[in-house]
Symmetry: C2
Amino acid sequence: MIPDDAIGALGAMLGERLSTGKSDLALHGRSETWHAEMPPDAVCYPRDTEEVSRIVALCARYGVPVIGWGTGTALEGHASAPRGGLTVDFREMAAVLEVRAEDMLVRVQPGCTRGALNTELRATGLMFPVDPGADASLGGMAMTRASGTTAVRYGTMRDQVRALEVVLPDGRVIRTGTLAAKSSAGYDLTGLFVGSEGTLGLVTELTLKLHGQPEAVSAAVCAFPSTEAAIETVILATQMGLRPARIEFVDAATAAILNAHDGGRFEEAPHLLLEFHGSDAAVAEEAERFGDLAAEAGAGGYRWATQAEERTALWTMRHRAYHTILASRPGSTAVVTDVCVPISRMGDAIERARAEIAASPIPGPILGHVGDGNYHAILLVDRGDPAELAAAKRLSDGMVAHALELGGTATGEHGVGLGKLHFMEREHGAAWDVMGAIKRAIDPEGIMNPGKLVRQN
Amino acid sequence: MIPDDAIGALGAMLGERLSTGKSDLALHGRSETWHAEMPPDAVCYPRDTEEVSRIVALCARYGVPVIGWGTGTALEGHASAPRGGLTVDFREMAAVLEVRAEDMLVRVQPGCTRGALNTELRATGLMFPVDPGADASLGGMAMTRASGTTAVRYGTMRDQVRALEVVLPDGRVIRTGTLAAKSSAGYDLTGLFVGSEGTLGLVTELTLKLHGQPEAVSAAVCAFPSTEAAIETVILATQMGLRPARIEFVDAATAAILNAHDGGRFEEAPHLLLEFHGSDAAVAEEAERFGDLAAEAGAGGYRWATQAEERTALWTMRHRAYHTILASRPGSTAVVTDVCVPISRMGDAIERARAEIAASPIPGPILGHVGDGNYHAILLVDRGDPAELAAAKRLSDGMVAHALELGGTATGEHGVGLGKLHFMEREHGAAWDVMGAIKRAIDPEGIMNPGKLVRQN
């Protein structure tokens, strides 16, 4: 509940940009996945940093929870409002503020999506590579430390955020980081806020690294006799210093679904989907070397796609695979696993997960960013069937427990939100208490995205 | 002062591995540069994490300052003991614990130096690329977020540290990070401890990323008509996606000193020294492309060095340049500046610094890692002349003030220590208070490396 006084003050400040309409609240309480709807008490649409600062200061005064919102595409209930409060939707703070081409940097507002940024950059010869499945907001991507298919070459949001402007839980505005490529000037606050899921403050501006649009691009697809053979090829390629821009794995079940529902033409076998970036000569050399390794591992049907249309078709299919898989079982919702393991153990881990899914009552195709050791089982559960949901959660919990035994993590890129909270103590041990101490130091009243990430009182 | 009870308890625990010998204390209070000697009250040499934990817990009980020590090569007085206390020297914790070749990771103890690690790795086909001038300890390098000549391609310590074991200020032992290539599981504590300069705890184990030894290496040297022309070439190359492993700048003054004192054969002009890593074909292509850009910028004498001996000679000269410069003025010590600026402004910034140094009474050759926007003026001051030291500090302060105006940082890789403390408020504004809040949350008694990095009470 937001006290009437606070609602009055917010309304006076924001006019029609404060909403308590039922559909607006419902929209902002909804999750992309299986999480229950948890609406806030109000939603606001600030226009600049100063307004965000005044909103947060007011919420601090009244003890009102503050939840940041980008595009609502988080998978673990990050932006839901389990304790009510005010959702701050950044859709009116979505500008590209400045492109610094020589520094290969861009300043953006948090509501700007990765797609909008790349459209804006098209003519500059530069690009922003991080591509989670959804056209997410850059603020949201920073807050979940998102990545996607290109992290294997370009890194995750941890590597792309050079500097931030942040509104702290008491309304103060700080700047972290600088425009310089590196710094040893104190604690890495930029790195601390990236991945903090809105629990330490609201990001109101991001300075992001850009990369040159590759001179040449080629893609390749190949089928492997086994998951192990595919992973072994990835390991060898990495050790040899090959740097594909994308190394995506799809298992036989995913291949079958893409064939049946999205016009795919895959063998029903484990595949790697690859993309190479560089000069013409470098791309040709890398693709050929990778092809040689794949052939030695028994891979068949190594196909190149240097034509832009063919490539676009391939990656469009890959990017919408989550929705295609979801649609393959009408009426279903998904529990999406997101473990990331040391690459040396990934073959085993995927095969074990596949066996456990096969022994369960629910389908769960597996695909992922295997250059990073990160993969997802899309566990499809009937929306109305609590037994299926429970079975999916058991499978997911088993995969996480195994990943942690192998020295991996519960979440490679989706974040903690509500869905992974129960693994934090097991993953971090006493280090989770240090996270709690940091949370209390920066947000002593606990108003920023309460219920998420740190230990709950 | 360490209370007698505490000394007694430490002695009982450590025997001869606790020292209060005068020369030992002096050695551990000394700086590589102009900073005054500030010895601790005792030095200890623990052998394992459990011992470190017991030492720190004991110091916590008695309120004794604890200062970590690697090789003593920090440039800003990081490991000095302005409030006395106990220096924890990691020379007996210097092992390479485990090489995980498939995961391209290594676990080391903090006292292991980068040189020792690379010797150990030689037969594996892997390498650890970060190379500050000194053969520093990897723990120390992590604590100052060090980099060096190869950061332009491989990144800094921020990018190389996958996971840490840390003894907290109350003696608890935590593990941060995992063996997985990426994670979205909560606050990036690994990133927070990297660069914390021992003010939040003592690192007792590091898991570091490794890289493949390049198949081919070539080096090149070229002289430019102006600093601006050299920097412009670097900017264009970066935008084109060229990824030299090293792009080092030396100004005409540095070239003259290397000629006179270390057998260099440079024109007296600004130079770039480059190294390319990759396949034979990739290295040849990159070097040629870079050569074309340099020629367009008016560079002369583009010389290749594909022979290992010639390359080694070049980089040995570069790595000992600091000491060669120091020796060029007998009896001098150095104030070494370390600003890092947005690359678009670097040409201006270097030229302005050169002009200011030329107008001063002291010599100050400039060299640096210009692919990152980071460069150093080695301001040579007569050890016995306070006026020269004051002039050098004025020059350094002016360079920092200018770097901050340009959106840069006071320190690109050397860290804060004592020498850059007075810039922290100006660089970070209110964000420095957030650093202070984190320090108090993790080290409420302020026993870890007191006097450094955060605001002093």
